[in-house]
Symmetry: C2
Subunit: 354 residues, 2 copies
């Protein structure tokens, strides 16, 4: 048998990930609840209570005073669940049902629609955001769901959520907001993205990204309990009646660390973290721009810049975990672990290899 190393990577060169180091309190809670299963609340009641508390926090952050939902394995599961619930509630055959999203939506929507066998209609973006006219042309009576993204994976852009909600209503479709990454940043901005500012039905908001919980902790929130009920299956041999999650056994570590992180950071810690990330992104964008590279202006703290392939390869060879947008731009996600010092070290290597 080959022997792999039992040493995880350090985070000091990870610029490509939307995950980060958990908050110390979140790490402690995760370690404590490692062997619990919130998917079986009758056997593991303590973590079930914690999940209710985690949901209250997510509801508060996302402007939903009476939240329904659960802590999922991640944003992909939450997005799948939104698509699945919308399909189930729309009735009729899957084959004629469609979902409308902008090209900037996360690839999990391709996974989700292929999985539940509905059509995915992708429309263009304008300035990185869903083109409203294109969305309006794409929806019809068979549209079960319109997707808006609040913090796109590639450029950190926020779709015009209220307008998308109106278009969805005009064809009796539901609207889902994917704030998997943006959800713990947007409360400190002026964007209208949440349940309070728009008539949205469901949301993905992941504690294990900017929320600094431990993996796996995705968040799936719905305004109306019926959307959750549309996902429920009966659960024999569990002393609970039904299960709405996509997975069965779930991670107590994710649930407990969500509560611990929110206790420690909501709201002021998250605000400070956002401000630091924003300043770092602005600084990096200016530095790259000053060196003559075309930079996509950061709105939320992601920096994308057109750089030559050889430079990208050299930086990866030097150990920098970076990735590219679909258009091939170098992409840096200013997560909480990405300090100014790390960015300076990155820029030094950038200058060395360019």
């Amino acid at each position: 048998m080959q022997r792999a190393s039992m040493e995880p990577q350090s985070f000091d060169r990870v610029l490509s990930s939307m995950c980060t180091e958990p908050h110390p309190a979140a790490r402690r809670a995760a370690e404590r609840f490692l062997a619990t299963n919130p998917g079986d609340p009758a056997s593991y009641p303590a973590v079930a209570d914690l999940e209710a508390e985690a949901l209250e926090y997510l509801g508060e952050i996302a402007g939903l005073p009476e939240p329904h939902g659960y802590i999922a394995s991640g944003g992909t599961e939450a997005n799948i669940q939104a698509v699945r619930a919308a399909r189930n509630l729309a009735g009729g055959r899957s084959e004629s049902t469609n979902i409308v999203a902008a090209e900037s939506a996360h690839f999990s929507f391709r996974k989700a629609t292929g999985l539940v066998d509905v059509e995915l209609r992708l429309v263009p973006t304008v300035g990185g955001k869903a083109d409203l006219e294109a969305v309006e042309s794409a929806v019809d009576d068979d549209t079960a769901l319109v997707v808006g993204v609040a913090g796109t994976t590639e450029y950190g852009r926020v779709d015009p959520i209220s307008d998308l909600a109106e278009i969805a209503r005009s064809v009796d479709a539901r609207i889902h907001v994917d704030a998997a990454w943006g959800g713990f940043l947007l409360p400190f901005t002026d964007y209208e993205w949440d349940f309070a500012s728009a008539k949205i039905d469901s949301m993905t908001i992941d504690p294990h990204k900017v929320g600094r919980a431990a993996i796996p902790a995705g968040g799936f929130l719905v305004r109306d309990r019926a959307m959750l009920d549309a996902l429920a299956v009966e659960t024999p041999y569990l002393e609970s009646a039904s299960q709405a999650s996509l997975t069965g056994t779930r991670s107590g570590a994710g649930v407990a660390s969500t509560v611990a992180a929110c206790e420690a950071l909501w709201p002021e810690g998250y605000r400070e973290q956002y401000e630091r990330a924003r300043k770092n992104a602005t600084w990096l964008a200016e530095e790259l721009s000053g060196r003559g590279f075309a930079v996509v202006e950061p709105e939320l703290p992601i920096v994308a810049a057109e750089t030559p392939q050889e430079l990208f390869d050299a930086l990866r060879s030097a150990g920098w975990r970076i990735s590219r947008t679909g258009r091939g731009e170098l992409r840096v996600v200013c997560m909480p672990h990405v300090t100014r010092e790390i960015l300076k070290a990155f820029l030094a290597d950038f200058d060395r290899y360019r």
Copy 2:
């Protein structure tokens, strides 16, 4: 905000769960890799190497020298993936496709077939195992998958896997074995359940159950890489080309703890653990039977006994985490944490309340 307790339950009264305390080495590995994401191997290469090692172990345990697959969130995801891959490979419309399984199959197959929109044909059992004649009558040219269970959730029964495989072949369907719970017990029995003893296509085998890895660590194994390819979606902005898992971000803790548990326990530690569980189940069954209760003879270490509802309720009120079969029998899963001492304490309460 309500305040939930930050104390997880102790395992000393948990008789209903198919999860257990992780092995100490698995716990240490999980804690170390808590902040890694094997779903993004270009950013987290160390855990990606560990996943290859975890797969090698699972392949060895399940009789598959060249295993393909991955560490999933749990058995439900692995079962969903088997159904999804079979549907995708069968081609044609979902609506005409069917999956055949016995009533004893886990409820995740109802979840899976509802999700991917195929028909689930459930057939009766004989002695807790799939009725072969009923399976033979149920399959047809639209059958994409036959499911066999190697260790049913309610009674720990093993379906006749080879015979099911033959029936599947007769209609060009695939066959999936759900050994989520049984997979770390069956190598020490005479059952024919694995890739080596039957022509099966895919398997669910969960390290986070009897394998003593940390949650979340399910196992999805396929014989032929094409089955995994049938699940792949493209992954822009990750420096890897595609992703076959159902979720996106995944748990490094689950992957690393799988390797650590297998290193520590395969094969002798798992064999000893199985022998202890078998003896405990036999002992408990005899004790209950000796008290005049009808007991379903344990084959794998699960004990089911007909007990009055009041007794069940009294035991739950006394803090015992027990559950019921669909027929209402008290059900005790003899997991590694369930020692003879725990069972004696349980029996003492049983005698007190009956």
